[in-house]
Symmetry: C2
Subunit: 160 residues, 2 copies
C-alpha cells in the first residue's frame, strides 16, 4: 500500500476502500473477446453466464425496473478480475456505453460494506446512482462518475 492509501482510514471516509476488484469491459460479442483474451494470455477460454432475470436481479436502471441482462465472463488477473460484459435485452448503463463509446472499459469496481450509505455518500459527491441490482449472495450498484472522474464506479456488496 502507498502512503496515500495508508492515510485513508478504511470504512471511515470515502467509500471505505481503495482496492479495485474488477475492471469491467463492455464488448459486442463476449465469446469472441473471451477467445481473444485467452489467446493473448495463454489461458483457457473463460466461460460466460447470463445475469438473472428482472424477477431474480431486481434490476433498476435510472430508477425504473429494467429487463436489462448481460452475459458475463471473468478472467482472474491477480487481485483484479477482468469482467467481460455483453449487454442483452433492455436499457442499461452497459448498452448506453456501447452506443456512446463502442467497446471499452465501462467501470472499475470496489467491494464495499453498507451499500445504501455508500450510494448516498457518492450522490452527495456528484456521482449519482445509475443502475443497481442483485446477484446470488450480493448486490451491485453503478454510479455515474463519467463527468467528474471520467469513469463509472461499481460498488459490490457480498453478504457472506
Amino acid at each position: 500500500m502507498s502512503d496515500i492509501a495508508a492515510t485513508n482510514p478504511a470504512n471511515e471516509t470515502g467509500i471505505g476502500t481503495l482496492t479495485i476488484t474488477q475492471v469491467g469491459l463492455v464488448v459486442r460479442n463476449i465469446e469472441q473477446t473471451a477467445r481473444a483474451f485467452a489467446a493473448v494470455f495463454g489461458i483457457p477460454v473463460p466461460s460466460s453466464n447470463l445475469t438473472g432475470s428482472l424477477d431474480e436481479a431486481h434490476t433498476e436502471y435510472k430508477g425504473q425496473p429494467s429487463e436489462a441482462r448481460a452475459r458475463l465472463a471473468f478472467i482472474k488477473a491477480g487481485q483484479v478480475s477482468i469482467e467481460l460484459i455483453e449487454p442483452i435485452g433492455g436499457p442499461s448503463t452497459w448498452r448506453d456505453f456501447l452506443d456512446e463509446h463502442g467497446e471499452g472499459v465501462h467501470h472499475i469496481a470496489f467491494e464495499i460494506k453498507g451499500m445504501n450509505e455508500r450510494i448516498t455518500y457518492l450522490a452527495d459527491k456528484g456521482v449519482p446512482l445509475v443502475q443497481r441490482g442483485d446477484y446470488t449472495g450480493g448486490c451491485y450498484a453503478y454510479l455515474d462518475g463519467t463527468s467528474s472522474l471520467g469513469v463509472v464506479l461499481e460498488l459490490l456488496e457480498n453478504y457472506r
Copy 2:
C-alpha cells in the same frame, strides 16, 4: 489466484503475467479529475508530473518519433494504481483516445520482462505496437488491442 491464473505458467506463455498493475484513465484536465478522485476516496489530492521530452523519453508513436508528452498522476488502489493521464503536445495514443472516445479508461497495464519479445508475441496475436518510450528506470509500450480485446494493453518493464 484463480484456477485459470494458476494454470498459466508465468513467463512461459502469453505475456508472462496476469497481474494488472495500472488502470490508465485519459482525462482533459488532470488537476480537476485528481481533485474529484481525492474527494470521492477521502484521500489527499495526488500530485501530477510531466513525462520526459522526446530527448529523454524517445517517444515513438506509430513508428515515428513524437513530441507527445502527458501529465500523469497516480492513485494507489491496492495492487493496482489508477493512472490519470492528460495528453500534452504531439500525436499519441492518449490524444487519439480522447478525440475518439472522450475521457475514459485508455488501457490496463502489466509489468513484464523481455519487452521486445513480448511486443513481437502480441503483434503475432493481432495486438500491434502503437506507442513506446522510456522513463527513468524503465520502458513502456502500448499495444492496440481495441479491435480484438476492446482495450489497449500497456507493458511496463522496470530495469531494477
